[in-house]
Point group: C3
Chain length 249, copies 3
Amino acid sequence: MIAIFTDFGVRGPYLGQMKAVLHDQAPGVPVVDLFPDLPPFDVQSAAYLLPAYSQTLSDQAVCLCVVDPGVGTERRALAVHADRRWYIGPDNGLLSIVARRAEHVRVHEVTWRPETLSASFHGRDLFAPVAARVARGDALSGWTAESAVVAEPDWPEDLAAIAYIDCYGNAISGLRAAAVPRHSVVEVAGCRCRHQRVFGEAPPGTPFWYGNSNGLVEIAVAGGSVAARLGLGVGTPLLVGDRSSPADS
Amino acid sequence: MIAIFTDFGVRGPYLGQMKAVLHDQAPGVPVVDLFPDLPPFDVQSAAYLLPAYSQTLSDQAVCLCVVDPGVGTERRALAVHADRRWYIGPDNGLLSIVARRAEHVRVHEVTWRPETLSASFHGRDLFAPVAARVARGDALSGWTAESAVVAEPDWPEDLAAIAYIDCYGNAISGLRAAAVPRHSVVEVAGCRCRHQRVFGEAPPGTPFWYGNSNGLVEIAVAGGSVAARLGLGVGTPLLVGDRSSPADS
Amino acid sequence: MIAIFTDFGVRGPYLGQMKAVLHDQAPGVPVVDLFPDLPPFDVQSAAYLLPAYSQTLSDQAVCLCVVDPGVGTERRALAVHADRRWYIGPDNGLLSIVARRAEHVRVHEVTWRPETLSASFHGRDLFAPVAARVARGDALSGWTAESAVVAEPDWPEDLAAIAYIDCYGNAISGLRAAAVPRHSVVEVAGCRCRHQRVFGEAPPGTPFWYGNSNGLVEIAVAGGSVAARLGLGVGTPLLVGDRSSPADS
C-alpha cells in the first residue's frame, strides 16, 4: 500500500496527478489518501503528525510524504525505512521525528532523478516514482546511496502546540497522550481543559482533552467546534499542568 | 465493492485510515467514498439519505455507514442485509430507514470486537474490519448473532426538511419525489417553489424544486446557490402544498 | 486508467456514485480524481485546463470530463481520441481545445443511451458507462457514429484569464507558458508580475508569475495566497507585456 501524507489539500489537480503516476508505475498497489490536507507549508506540524498517523498502517506500507515549501531549491530526497514501514520525502525535517523515534532506521538518499523534473512539483515527478519503485519491491542499489542521515532540526521531543484542526473543529496537538497523566490539566488559549475518555461522557459545552485514536492529545468539545469556541489555530501552544496547581483555583 | 457513507468529511486523516484498513483486510475489493461528508453528528438526516444514495449501487455492495456521535458509549454494531445490499454501522437509527423500507431484511448484531478498540474511532477499528469481512464473503456465524432488530427511532415516513447542501448550493431534502405530485408547490424558508424537470429549463433566478437523480426532492436555482439565496441549511423544513391553494394567491 | 475531470467538487455524493459505476463496469481499471473541483458551470475555463492537466497521463488513459451546466437539454455526447488519449464528455465546448490542439483526432458521437437516464446526472448515467466501455477496450462500432466534429465555440488560442485558484491561493491561468517569454511582465488586477523560476527564489511578499508544472502561466506569492492578496478570482484577466514597456516605469 502507498499512503499519501501531504499538504496538497483535497481540492485541485495535485493529488490526482500524483495518484495517476502511482497507479501507472506500481500497478495493482492500493493507494490511499492517508492525510491529504496537512497545514500548508508547515513542515514541523507534519513531522509530529507523521508517526502518529502512519502507525496504524500495515507492515511494509510506503508513506509518500510531501510537505515541501522549498521545492525547486537544493535539498536531498530520502527513502527512510523506520521500523517496518517506508517513508519517502524531502530531507527538510519532515521525516526527522519518525526517524528519531524508530528503533530500527535505514536511511537511503535517492540519487536517481527523472528525465523530466518540473521545478515546482517534485511530489509528482520525483517522490511518487520513488514511492512506486519502493512499493514494487525494487532493489535499492544503483539509484540510492545508503548510510546517509536524516536532517534533524532542533525540535523538541514532543510538539506542545496545535498541529491540525479537523473538520469537526477538534484541535489535534503534536503531544503524545501516553506522556500526559490523565489527571493533568491542559491549558490552551486560556482555557484549562480536563481529561475525558470519550465525547459521549463529556459535559456538553465544556472543552476537554483526550488521547485520540492515534495517541495524540486532542482538545475537543462535545457536539461542537472547540477551535471556533476558543479561537484555536495551528500553532496555538498547549501547557500541561497539574490539576492541583495554584493556577487551577 | 465497499461504499463509505459517513460524516467524517473529505479533509483530515479519518477516511484514509479507514480505507487503509479496508484495502488491507479486503484486498482487491474496490472502495468508494459514496457520501463522505454527511452533516456532522446528524444521524437522522443521514438515515433518510442512505436509501436514496445507496440504491444505485450494485447488488451485494457493502455500505460502511458511520455517523456516530455516541462513539465510545454503549450501542450495538449491526450488519444489515436489506434487499440485495449490506449495511454496516452503529445501531443508533442510522440504518433504520433503509431497514424499514426494504422488502427483505436480515439483521445481524456484530458480537466480535477487535483486539484494540479505540474509544473514539470505531469506524476504523470496528466497522471497517466488519465491512471488509462481509465484503470478502465470510460466513457470519460465530461472530454475529442473527434475528436482532434495528433500533427504530420515532421518525416519520419521509423527512420533510433539508438534509444536505451540496457544493453548488443545491438543497437536498429527505422527501421522496415519487410521493410529491409535480403540480405541488414546495414551500421552503418562505419561498413557494414550483416543479421544473431540469436546470436548463428553469427560469434564471427563480428557485424551483425537482426530483433529483437519486429520487429526492431538491430545491435549486439555475446557475447559482439556492442555499445562499434563501438562507437554507440542514434542518430547514419543507412544506408541500397544492398550487391552487389560497396561500399561492 | 480513468481520470475524472469535473466541477462536481470533492464533497457530496456525485464523485462517489460516478466511481461506483466505473468500478462496476470497468473492473480492475484504476480510477483517479484528476481534477475534481473545476470552477462550477465554467465550461470555458475547464476547456483550457484540460489539455494541460491531462498531458501527464499515460497513453490510452480515458478522461471522463463532466462540466455540464446544460445537462438534461439537447447536446451530443462525445468520445474523442486526441493524440494518444481518450476524452469522454458533452459536446458543449469542453473538449474543443484539446481537440483543436491535437495532431491526430478522431471524434465519435455516442449514440447509445442507458435504459435509465436521469435528467440531471449524465455523469453517472451516461458518461461514466461510456468511459468504462472505452477503458475496457470495447469496439466502438454499433453504439457510436464516427466522423462527427467537436463543437467549436469562438474561443481564442489561449485564455488570458485566471481559470482556477488552488488551495494555496495560487492563480492558474489558461495561458501556455511556452508562449510567454521569461522577460515578460504579466499584469493582473493592477499588479505587474515578473517571472521567477521557483517559489524558493521569489522575494517574500512579491507576487510573481511562473510556468507551472503543467505548462501554464500561474500567479503566486511565496508562502501566501496571491488570490487573497490581489483579490483574484476565476475570470480575472491577464495582460502580457514587455518589461521595458513605458507602463513599467
